[in-house]
């Protein structure tokens, strides 16, 4: 898919995120919006996958380790044809497949149950190891929150990934610099981040997480590394696309009220 179309889809995903979380009166818009452009590029450009056959053995895998961003994942899966777009408005409702956090086997296209931060990269390592054992060519993409990186399990996984030369594994950091209680560097500093990954034996790419061309180029760049796992640190803005949500930690887990909803819709529809 070409860049303009992907950009449009990314903003459609944003619109879904706002509509879904308002319909559910709960959920996490901020970290869903920051991830929207990256997720759109993955599902509509980078990954080989087939919505008609979600368990295709050769598909590329995407693990949303920061599971609270489920709305953007569900929106992407729906737009990619895994289930009807109409289902999105059932998010978080009793009986809906679309649980508050992703659930493996319940939702087509979801590759792992997440929501407890810090566990996704280990799961991704397991899938990447299986790919090696089975001599498959698939790639495993795992999206991590920057606050999430404070959890030690990530670094256990990071050590394993380079130890086993998992060049089929790509970690993606949504570096929006915010977590629930505020700025990551004030809560528990994770910088210098590239140096950390480098010292764990990873290839490191840094890029702009809201420029579709640059996001595509970053994923293209991964191919230049023959050995080792690669991390792409995408600099992003939490709440991206809705002016009053941007860089605002409050909207981590808070949804729009009536007025905000109207404003958000106007702003996003202008982009589509």
């Amino acid at each position: 898919m070409d860049v303009e179309k992907i950009q449009r889809i990314a903003n459609i995903l944003r619109l879904h995120v706002i509509e879904m979380t308002v319909a559910a009166s709960s959920g996490h818009p901020g970290g869903s919006l920051s991830a929207a452009d990256i997720v759109a590029v993955l599902y509509f450009r980078v990954m080989r996958h087939d919505c008609k056959n979600p368990v295709w053995a050769d598909r590329d895998r995407f693990i949303l380790s920061k599971g609270h961003a489920a709305p953007v994942l569900y929106a992407a899966l729906a737009e990619a044809g895994y289930f009807p777009v109409d289902d999105l408005k059932t998010l978080r409702q009793l009986g809906s497949n679309l649980q508050g956090h992703p659930v493996y086997k319940k939702i087509p296209g979801v590759e792992a149950s997440t929501g407890s931060l810090g566990q996704g990269l280990s799961i991704a390592c397991g899938i990447a190891l299986a790919g090696k054992i089975d001599t498959k060519n698939y790639k495993v993409y795992c999206m991590l929150g920057d606050g999430e990186l404070q959890s030690g399990q990530n670094w256990e996984a990071a050590m394993l990934a380079s130890n086993y030369n998992l060049n089929n594994l790509v970690a993606i950091v949504d570096r929006n610099r915010l977590q629930i209680c505020g700025d990551t560097e004030e809560i528990m500093a994770i910088d210098p981040l590239p140096e950390k990954w480098l010292s764990f034996g990873w290839n490191v790419i840094e890029s702009d997480g809201h420029n579709i061309n640059k996001i595509i180029a970053a994923f293209e760049n991964v191919k230049t590394f023959r050995t080792g796992p690669t991390v792409i640190i995408f600099n992003t803005v939490k709440g991206k696309g809705v002016s009053f949500m941007e860089n605002n930690a409050e909207f981590h887990g808070k949804v729009c009220n009536k007025d905000e909803y109207a404003r958000a819709l106007t702003e996003l529809k202008r982009l589509i």
Binding site: S26, G95, Q99, G100, H101, G147, E148, Q150, I180, M188
Partner: protein
Amino acid sequence: MKLAQRNYYGKALTELAKTRRDVVVLDADIAKSTKTSEFQKIAPDRFIEVGIAEQNMIGVASGLAISGKTVFVSTFAVFATGRCWEQIRLAVAYPKNNVKIVSTHAGISVGEDGASHQGLEDISIMRSIPNMVVISPADAYEAYSATLALAEYKGPCYMRLGRGVFPIVTEEGVKFNIGKAKVLREGKDITLIGTGQLVSTCLDAADVLKARGINAEVINVSTIKPLDTKCIKDSVSKTRCVVTAEEHSIIGGLGSAVAEFLLGELFVPLIRIGTNDTFGESGRAEDLMKKYGLTIENIVKAAEISIFKKNYGEAK
């Protein structure tokens, strides 16, 4: 009247911030939800933010306790107990360190976040650790008084609190006695034993039973470990049948604790109300309580079956 337990936990911490220089509070990026942010406002120098790193938080708490601090750590029930169970076992419980693990968002009434965030096994896995005190207050007032009692007590404790607002069933300002259960209503026909917000459901069930000519005794077991076996034995010796009710799995929680005690003490029918060896799901809290059977009707039904078994044996 309904109030949120976690707000009263925050209030009690505010009190402790002013009166107890030895109290230190640890957070893992969730202080506004657990209300430890109230302590932070007053005593920022004794509030330690560890980031999203629950296992590390327990280790740090252990070190602070070893150095003479009274440490409160808080996060959601699943993460507070499950993520760092072995750290709690070795670094807190085994050496009897003075760490208070106070979780919020326990139970299925967490609601929309779904199974990943609904702690339904926390009592079970905390209760199985030696030296650990396990507390589950019935309402916000008890959450407040229990917090102050935890600060007085020397040693490892776990306390679970809910997310939403729960009906008030206790009196404000009453001192909390760790290890003491309380008979909230006297009756001779059956003993309803509740913990957490299910105490209020038991009281409502007792009203329904009363209208049907059944006098239920209702006990609030807010300390699950050590269990107030005397209070339970006194009641059950009289009523000869029991229903337990909790917002937790029937495996390992209050129901199990009561069953383990009664087994070999009194041969009486006992029915456990709780989640039935299942994960939760997303939904509104009230709908989930209903779907998973944590209701007045279910307690009433269980009480009638329990009484029937007492009177006629196995069949029904």
